[in-house]
Every structure is written in structure tokens, then in C-alpha cells.
């Protein structure tokens, strides 16, 4: 399970952020489904040769984001999708980021339609598997 995580040192993203991003993406793309167990902190730390505290911190962040739940003495599991809900502030941050991307795309000379197509095709990378895992929950 741990092998899909790739830590790159010397990157602009700190190790902690790389962990959060890669696990969040795996959950969003459905490669990790509700109830799947994340590797144990110590196991992941030794496999990736990174500090166990960093892994624990990343897991804690994912838990605060309601993407995973930690069951005492058992481990960390991907949380039920029903428990995830973005509040207004989070949606605000998201739309601001989208605005930045749109600005850049327009500056590069892309038309609104092209941009919409790109967005749709990217969304497909997440859409399918996600829907499947959603159905399983219902």
C-alpha cells in the first residue's frame, strides 16, 4: 500500500505536504476507498525513510480534514465520504485558487471553452472511481 507514495527531497513542497497531497489525491481518485487502512505510521516512516513524527503529523492533518479516522489501537482508516462537508470558508479558498488558475490560462491565450474542456477531462480522472466508491456506501 505504501509504495505509491513518493517522497522527493529538495522539492518546493515539504515532506509533510507531499504526504498529505498524495494521500488526499489517492482518496479523491478512489484508489483509497472508505474503510481502507492506511499504513501504520512507523511502517510508512521506515519504508520511506522519513521521520515518524512527520507521518503522524500528516495523518493528524488528514484527520482534521475529515478524510481519515483513527481508531485507537487499531490504525488509521479512510473516512466515510458522508462525513465530509466543506464549509463556506473552505469553498472560498477553493474558488480563489480556481481564479488563479483561470487567470493564468486566460493569460496563456486559452479560450473559455478550451478551459472548460480541460476541466472536464481532468475531472474524469477523479469522477468514475469516485462514483463507484460512492455507490458502495449507499
Amino acid at each position: 500500500m505504501a509504495l505509491w507514495i513518493q517522497i522527493t527531497t529538495g522539492s518546493n513542497d515539504p515532506v509533510y505536504t507531499q504526504l498529505i497531497n498524495q494521500i488526499s489525491r489517492a482518496i479523491a481518485q478512489g484508489r483509497l476507498k472508505t474503510g481502507d487502512k492506511l499504513p501504520a505510521v512507523r511502517k510508512l516512516a521506515s519504508e520511506l525513510v522519513i521521520n515518524p513524527n512527520t507521518v503522524a503529523k500528516a495523518y493528524m492533518h488528514l484527520e482534521q480534514a475529515k478524510l481519515v479516522v483513527t481508531k485507537t489501537g487499531s490504525g488509521t482508516y479512510v473516512a466515510d465520504t458522508k462525513n465530509r462537508s466543506a464549509d463556506a470558508a473552505e469553498i472560498n479558498v477553493l474558488t480563489e485558487r480556481m481564479d488563479n488558475i483561470i487567470t493564468r490560462a486566460i493569460n496563456l491565450g486559452l479560450k473559455q471553452n478550451d478551459l472548460a474542456d480541460i476541466f472536464k477531462s481532468r475531472l474524469e480522472k477523479f469522477g468514475d472511481k469516485k462514483r463507484k466508491s460512492g455507490e458502495e456506501n449507499e
Binding site: 517522497i7 527531497t9 529538495g10 522539492s11 518546493n12 513542497d13 515539504p14 515532506v15 509533510y16 512507523r42 516512516a45 521506515s46 525513510v49 522519513i50 521521520n51 515518524p52 513524527n53 512527520t54 503529523k57
Partner: protein
Amino acid sequence: MSEIILETKGLTKYFSNKAALEKFDLQIPRGCICGFVGRNGAGKTTAIKLMLGLLKPTAGSSAILDCDSMSLTPKIRRRVGYVTEGHRLFRWMTIAGLESFQKPFFDNQWDDKFFSEMIDYFELSKKQKIKHLSNGQWAQVSLALALAPHPELLIMDDPTLGLDPAIRRQFLQGMIRLIMQQGRTVLFSSHILSDVERVSNQIVVIDKGRLRAHCSIERFRESIKKVKFSFADKVPTDIDIEGLVNCRIIGNELELILVETPQEKIAQWAASEDAENYEIVPMNLEDQFIEFTEPKKRGKLFQWENN
């Protein structure tokens, strides 16, 4: 706050009349891997030697495991591992000889099985003489010797200097393996920021004998920012903004290196100086370190930079 395993208070060391370390205050909590970074001559080795009682401070004090560094007892010393810069070992001894020399200092703490496993893993034989080993093999023997007693506190002075990436990785694995044991702590100095980034959860930055930063790696990464401001015509030269450590003017752009400057202060400053816009430029740890410790220079290092 967890227990402090290493503490220095106003630690100062002068060599003739030059300060190698000045008013150095540090507290290392138990259970972390702390990357100790600083440029050549910044005072890392001096600080480490003072912590271990191998040098006498000019002023101030240092303590490890609640014992003053100048009066460390054998009982305390056996709980501390130390890897010297350059991995100095007795050249005329065999690996087995070194093992039987070191072992009695550590009482029943010495893990024979673990030591032998490491020597096997490194494809060495205990019959080999130190003087016949390569630099990398010296380092491996020194790592095995340091880890065999499972020290509570492991201090390593630039342990990966001049080692190939594979042996460097073995050192990092060794540190991770040690830290997995309850209550173990590692302090290691290094110039290889990618190694520090990989295994440390705390970073200590020393510059010209003074402590510049001590915090979690995450906080260090978040705190040091490069911000690029664009101006319509004149770039301001009199810059007054909280946390400024370095600045550079490139055409009509101004690049500031800011430390712990709140976002709103950056926005306010940009507005007050009539900047057209500004963006935060991502930096990796090495860039952050260089920007943080590099003094403001008047001239250029190389003439061809003046294009």
C-alpha cells in the same frame, strides 16, 4: 512540553579573542531527530564538542541528560552515542577489536546481534583491519559502533560528509530505526539539506556562532518566504517591513526574503508602496537556508552576472 534531553544556556566559546560560539541557548526535547545546519565555520563542531564536554566553555553551560557537560560520568556517557567528524577510528585495529574495545564502556547495553547484523549488511568482515577499509566502510563501521548500544541520545558531527548516496541513506535509515525505539533522540549536523529534510522533525540553524533558528521543519518551511513585487516605475529602495532578511532588485521587480511576516503585512506593504502586484515564490529547503544565512552583498561574485 516534553522532557528536555540536551540544554545549553548562554554557551560561549572563544578561541584566542575570536568567538566561535556566542550566547548559544538550545533545548532539544526527547524523541526528535534534530538537523543541525550552518555554513562552514558557523560553530557546529564547537557546539557539539562543548555539549559533550570535550571543550571547556568560555562562558555559559551545557547539560545532557540533566548532567553538566563538564562533569559527565561514565554512567551518563554510556547513554550517549557520538560519531565524530571524519569517523576517526583506531586504524590498527580490526572491526572485532574495535567492538571488544567499545563494548565494555556500555555495560549490558551493547547489542551483539545488532552489531553483527549491521556488519554483515554492510558486507564487511569483523576480521578486516580499519586501515584497509575505504572511507565509506569507515563510516559504516562507525555507524554500527554508534548504534549497537542503542543510545538514548545520538550526536553525529557531519556523519555523511563525502559519502555516496547509498551509504548516506544507510545513515538516515539508522537514525530512523533508532528513533523508533521509545525515547531516543538524535542530533546531527549536515550540509546536505535534503537529508535533513528527509529525516528531521526539528531544525537548528547556526550562523557565525549564534543560534539563528530552532523550530520544527514544517514551521521553518512555512516561515521563510520569497516574495516578488512588481512596480510600474520606481522600485522602492528604503524598505521597512517586518521580518526582512534579504532583498534584491531585478529591473522593476523587487524580491524580498521575509521571515515570519504575516500575509496581511505583506499585502499592506505592497499597497502602501504602490506595487502593481506581488506573488509568493516557492522555495526549497536549500534555497531557504541560503537566503536565510547569506549576508547582504554589495558586489557580485562573478563579473558575468552583470549582463
